[in-house]
Symmetry: C2
Subunit: 226 residues, 2 copies
Amino acid sequence: MKNKTLAEKAAQELLKFIQDKNMVEGEKLPNEYELSNQLGVGRNTVREAVRILASRNILKIKQGAGTFISDKPGMVEDPLGFLFMEDRRKLVSDLMQVRLIVEPAIAALAAQNATEEDHRQLTRICQEIENLIFEGKDFSEKDRAFHSKLAESTQNLVMKNLIPVICQGVRVFSTTVSAQEYKQTIETHRKILQAVKERRGVDAEQAMSYHLLYNIQRFQKEEDLT
Amino acid sequence: MKNKTLAEKAAQELLKFIQDKNMVEGEKLPNEYELSNQLGVGRNTVREAVRILASRNILKIKQGAGTFISDKPGMVEDPLGFLFMEDRRKLVSDLMQVRLIVEPAIAALAAQNATEEDHRQLTRICQEIENLIFEGKDFSEKDRAFHSKLAESTQNLVMKNLIPVICQGVRVFSTTVSAQEYKQTIETHRKILQAVKERRGVDAEQAMSYHLLYNIQRFQKEEDLT
DNA sequence: AGTTAAAAAATCGTTTTACGAAATGGACTA
DNA sequence: TAGTCCATTTCGTAAAACGATTTTTTAACT
């Protein structure tokens, strides 16, 4: 604790301050001047402390409005350093390889551990995706939500945090626009969902494998064109 | 790019500046005043920009000495927000569950893709672990290095960045001191290494599964005591 | 000449003051 | 009532000044 910079110590103190007050998502912090007084450091130092916590998505800064408690505590922007990888094509390919290993197992685990509430939310997301498809809109964000919720349904904390990162990586770095062949997406999503609901782990696993392999194939085809 | 704060834009510019100059690990940046001039922003903003990059481990700040290029580009301190999880026992358990899914596949991939240089490094690390064990010292750091290097040997960029994070989590949050039964560690590590070298993917996979299951069992035994 | 200690320089750390930019809320007007 | 505008609040940025720490230089001493 001794060789840390004052701003870092202030950040730690501020975090404790937040936890002590039991502040919840969306709640507003005192402004920078008041924090400067309460923490006993200059406003500049307060700003750096706040930024440290903001960089970890613990706080959300809004100019003119204030600083608020964020919703996704601890999740970072680019946690695994994807931005600094040169070969983005390989990155997407590698991401899909990881998904192909992890997500079938996730589907099986979700089939085993998902709650009724998880089932409802998954169903809703699945429906929203189908709606977006019918309207011809981009559904990649919702697709990510589906896979993330599935990961959350495993009740495994690490999966819950990891999968959004991986899916986001694919979403950001793949140049692929939403596929033309939506039918496959709708169908396999439904299959996965149904298997999870009925707690058929192996079926969920297989459906997920098929879903991902199909997408990987699509990516590869597109690569061949460029 | 428009609704970003000036400091964030400055950070991006600074990063480009670094990449353009092809700066390498350990190299020193101009001081804050010069950067302030070169980037055309105030020193305060420069500091915030530098901190953004420092928080991503791209830069390393040393008071009185200067700011330098870091060695582990893009790797963050606590990328998946482990620090904010309440139940650390469950966290370790969840981490091991993830490892049990991912690492056998990694072993198989490594057997397929590892280079001669990878083989050499893995062998060296394996030897170092055995030495530490014979000396009765803590080898958890080196164990992490072994699993990380194995992940790197898959030639999959995501694995390479992901596994160190997972292993570090286990290492930090598990209260387990190095096991008494070292023999198992030495033996299975050797088995994995040998299988990877001889490109026997399935054998590597199985050896890794056994290795992890053994450790999980150990964790559970220890939990039962407390 | 070599060693060591003090001084100087370089650099980041922190505070303070001042003003700009954005969001919010309330008063005023149609 | 609805919409617009303005004052207030709050974060964003800049600049100057001094403190803290590290590195380098200088100087003194053996």
